[in-house]
Amino acid sequence: MQGIQIDLISEERLARLTPMEKIRLILDDVKKGNIVVLEKGLPPEEASKLIEITMMEIMPDGFTGIEMETYPAKEVAPGLSGILNRVVGKRPEARLTVIGPANQLKMIKKEKDLISAWVSSR
């Protein structure tokens, strides 16, 4: 049976991995042509590392990079709790994230509560 493999990785599993283990897991999976869905997205520092390592692994006629989409971060709560969150430096948490090979995954549209994507086989 032909098709595209989709790996859905739970928040619990991600929490057990180090930043480099997460990045390796994502890139190794995506380079095989799989689509990775993270229940909870990467924090900014890890996203920065993911971009850097993705760039280092791009090859002519091979891996061309990643396509990545996530829902916009939820607004910080209004009122006193929102002010307190800002004071203690709490940032909106990353949300569900879809990552795939740039030459196979195309985003069609993204709204605050909907990601619509198109996936092609290699």
Binding site: P44, S48, E52, M55, M56, G65, T70, R91, K110
Partner: protein
């Protein structure tokens, strides 16, 4: 009245402390996706305040493939405040680079592969600069395009997590389809300055905000 005395005293104290402790110049990185006009702005800043030039520009994406630094630029706003900075013009940040895209601009395969390799190295270098060596960011967006691209959301998140002061520039307002308000609604938490780095429209406002944010 009391407020203006307080503001003047604060500025004088701040200036005195900078001189006394010989505060080093802030390194300001110009970041953004490819073809947003980063090098055009860097050239304008450098030309306006030193008379030199910085880098070449092109319609082919990833013309800037190495971070370029111009040191010791003093910018003065119309309010008389000034700031000493180094400007770092960085390669456009993206998550994908395919050499075949460059061939559609007429480059040979060899030229396109070389450009792609240099561009990937440049993006990795730009990310490294952001984590290690940058004190403030001008995040540059093409005001004719959708600002909600994942790479923009991700980059602003990374800049915020580093607690770096940031100014978002909505560039290309000389084009009729420019919509800087879309950028304001995408990033309401940051100052957004609409400019044309090509013809210089509203660049004085950017200089003034730079003295406030990076001073």
């Amino acid at each position: 009245m009391a407020l203006s005395i307080f503001v003047r005293t604060k500025k004088k104290l701040s200036h005195f402390l900078k001189v006394f402790f010989k505060k080093r110049r802030a390194r300001i990185g110009i970041y953004g996706p490819p073809n947003a006009g980063k090098t055009t702005l860097a050239n304008r800043i450098v030309r306006d305040w030193t008379g030199d030039a910085m880098g070449t520009v092109s319609e082919i994406p990833h013309e800037t493939r190495r971070a370029l630094r111009k040191e010791n630029i003093t910018i003065t706003g119309v309010n008389g405040d000034s700031v000493d900075i180094d400007i770092v013009d960085t390669p456009g940040v993206t998550t994908k680079i395919d050499y075949r895209e460059f061939m559609s601009f007429g480059l040979s395969k060899e030229e396109a592969v070389t450009r792609a390799r240099e561009a990937t190295e440049g993006v990795a270098e730009a990310m490294h600069w952001l984590r290690e060596d940058i004190d403030g960011v001008i995040y540059m967006l093409d005001a004719t395009l959708d600002p909600f691209l994942q790479v923009n959301i991700m980059m602003v998140g990374i800049i915020e997590s580093r607690k770096l002061p940031v100014i978002i520039v909505a560039n290309k307002i000389d084009l009729p389809e420019a919509a800087p308000n879309r950028i304001r609604s995408a990033f309401p938490q940051h100052p957004v300055v609409p400019i044309s780095s090509l013809d210089g429209s509203n660049v004085e406002q950017l200089y003034e905000i730079m003295t406030e944010k990076f001073g």
